[in-house]
Symmetry: C2
Subunit: 517 residues, 2 copies
Amino acid sequence: MGENEDGEIIEHHVNEEMEKRHLTRRPGSFSEVAKLSERERHSNTQSSHRLLAYSDALLSIIATVMILPVAHTKIQDNEELKESLQQLLTTKIAVYLMTFLIVTVAWAAHIRLFQVIERIDDCLALLNLACMMLITFLPYTFSLMAAFPENILGILFFCGCVVVIGLIQAVIVLYGFSQPFLLNDQIQVSENLTFYKKHILKVILRVPVFCFVAIIFSLIFPPMAYVILAFVIFFPYISQLVKWCHGKAVGRQEETPESMLFYSYHPNEPLSKERVEAFSDGVYAIVATLLILDICEDNVPDPVEVQHKFNSSLVVALQEFGPEFLAYFGSFATVGLLWFVHHSLFMHVTKSTRLMGILNTFSLAFVGGLPLAYQLTHEFTQNSRNELEAIQISCVIIFFAGIFQLAIWVVALFSQHETLHPCVHYGGQDHAFMLAKLSLYPAVALGTFFITCVLSEFSAPVFHLTQIVVPVAFLLLRLLVRVALAVLHWLFCPHRPTMLDLQGEQDSRLDFNDVVT
Amino acid sequence: MGENEDGEIIEHHVNEEMEKRHLTRRPGSFSEVAKLSERERHSNTQSSHRLLAYSDALLSIIATVMILPVAHTKIQDNEELKESLQQLLTTKIAVYLMTFLIVTVAWAAHIRLFQVIERIDDCLALLNLACMMLITFLPYTFSLMAAFPENILGILFFCGCVVVIGLIQAVIVLYGFSQPFLLNDQIQVSENLTFYKKHILKVILRVPVFCFVAIIFSLIFPPMAYVILAFVIFFPYISQLVKWCHGKAVGRQEETPESMLFYSYHPNEPLSKERVEAFSDGVYAIVATLLILDICEDNVPDPVEVQHKFNSSLVVALQEFGPEFLAYFGSFATVGLLWFVHHSLFMHVTKSTRLMGILNTFSLAFVGGLPLAYQLTHEFTQNSRNELEAIQISCVIIFFAGIFQLAIWVVALFSQHETLHPCVHYGGQDHAFMLAKLSLYPAVALGTFFITCVLSEFSAPVFHLTQIVVPVAFLLLRLLVRVALAVLHWLFCPHRPTMLDLQGEQDSRLDFNDVVT
């Protein structure tokens, strides 16, 4: 792959030579110019960083788009929340969760693709935009499919989109391999470029082929088409499971290390940590601002209405909308603090794997439901059964969002030498601190849930109290953990002076700023 | 500032020592442990990269939030667009533009703050979240102020938010200067840390003080409060202008280089390029998906309705929603390609300045209006006067969005040695290519506008044709520019062989993939 290495070196040369040329301003001879002009072509390649950031932003918006129909479903206070919730649960929430899953699958495929193709040029950027346009259309086609399961039009649209997306991705791969300096360095220097090309194309084209089969079946026997679509999503996991079981049954088989690196669906396959963060940031940001979007649109009182209905008193008019603001601040704070935990978590994770990615997706899917739950808690009259249930749903959602974050941590601990920063390995103080951070929300949510079960009449005050206590707890967490550890130490081995005691002494000399967090 | 330098070195040591400790697993002596534990505190500081990315995502969502009420205003086909537009223009669009401006001012202040504080710890992260929560509330308070200009409640809320935001930022600065290892390296090693602290606090606290004055005036003489608020936003620019005029009048005065670096409002003050990109990416992503959000929410036909109204024919029902899809694909493609131009532009810009940031803000503000304009073009009957006007508005918006991007380029060219990559300096081929990329959209928009003025009956076909032609033009741009340059060369100096001819020869030997883009 001499050419590729040249490609690399050339890029550096171009810049240097450009600089030189700029200084001297006159190219020396024609041959030099000719050489240069050929090299210039390579200078059009770019790091794909920003393209991926933009794609992540688009995908995170699209992943959360289907929560809007759920959030905007008007629930009447007079009917029981449970009944209307059952309606919601069966259709809109299912559609939300499924589209979230589908978009994250598309996102994972996008990551895989751009782990192979590391540099881009204008043509790839435009192809990627076309691909994104179709991906953003997937939620609509899916919701059409869900609304009209009998009608084959929905499945035709959906499969049509997926087929075209798959073909564009295949074109991107072919284009990338035709200009190897765009590829990942590892693939560039590898001997069997054609093996990679075939393997990757095989994996990518599997999806459109299956969808094409689904289209054909939808014309003959529609239910089979849905089975095939479900199979497409879960196929990699099923095949991994089968492989794993097979491996366990006949004794461990070594996999070819080359096929391992790209487009394997092994749980330990590395996943770009940067992109997991970018996608999560996008989702957290949208979910945090979801309620303010509604407030800005609907809750600015109409001047005419205020004059007639509220006797020109804006204060009275705004009191009507008061609960909405509380819901907004509550959900913003909760989503923000969950982001904060996520941020601390991925600061300590040095390498993220596909399994972590899946757990992160589950956590994000629950986070997406938070604004809705918060909105519900403020929509019902005080101490009604509906309010109690809305609060309990909020607790359940927070609990699961937090517990999946904790699960990421647990998975990371299993291979801590590879995936974690040394300072948070088992037994360190930072480890205890991180664990406390991660378990604060699940613990509080679980506690609130049980309190509301027992003392149902105090559910609202308890819930609102947690809204205020949790941020303070995060601010003082480092102090609290130190105190807890000191107490534990004092209880179980009071005679041996330890790190913690020494630290405690030092801390007492430090001012407030140093102690908090 | 020996302490600060220690802080830096310590961070590196911690990691190494941690690693060592992990290998040996047993700390040697108590003194070593004590030393270590003190150092561990420093390991809690983190790069602020992800916090800023999350803040940028939140701010870009909030900046564009007020376009939603504009987009969702139902315009009736029977009344003239002009009349309803006048209503829109006076209130909602003005509110959108003002909130966009206010949020970008807050964003610029946020950039300034985190150019000084480069590392964060948990406490700063939580303070920043609190600050963000209040910033996301600004558009609502502003639209309340705009809806009820007579009522002082709006101005009280707005100013209250700004005062608290300013105070939180002041706390962040105080916290940062109390732990100097969190600060920018340049400030850390500087002699007059207190000078910086005072200067920065002075600039930050100016805004809440003015707002406090505005609150007091709102109780006495409300109009004065609005004047003060307008003054707060434009004060830095006015003061710069006065300084500049003064400098011109009495002869150039050298400014103190130290106060130049941070919190000056000089047009050449560096602006973090990374954050300009992140904020722009966020805005482009939201604007691109704005229409699909509506489509997903409103345009999935109701099964019951389809059965009764459309005789169970989903195809007929979807045809009702057809124009919406076209508008979506059109606006996604246009926004995507404007992003693509922005991406190419900032790839060549090596250092962005405050002036570029302002021009970028103007460009983004116009981009935010695009989906609305596209939606309008498809809402009216063919060949109506409303449709023509909607198409012309779209052209005007695209033109201005493009022309401000071009303005960034022109500004960058004025100090090209500092701000541009050498390969795009005047006269290079990449320079011509970049110029073509930047001027394609303004030129097409201007052309379409004049064609629709002259041939008003063909306005819709012409507009739709540009939707298809422009992406192809971008794909073939490199080829087109080369042909154009070769033709120009042939026309004006046909006898001298140049770089371009040689390149042309080489190109003819290259395959299709190499030539396009």
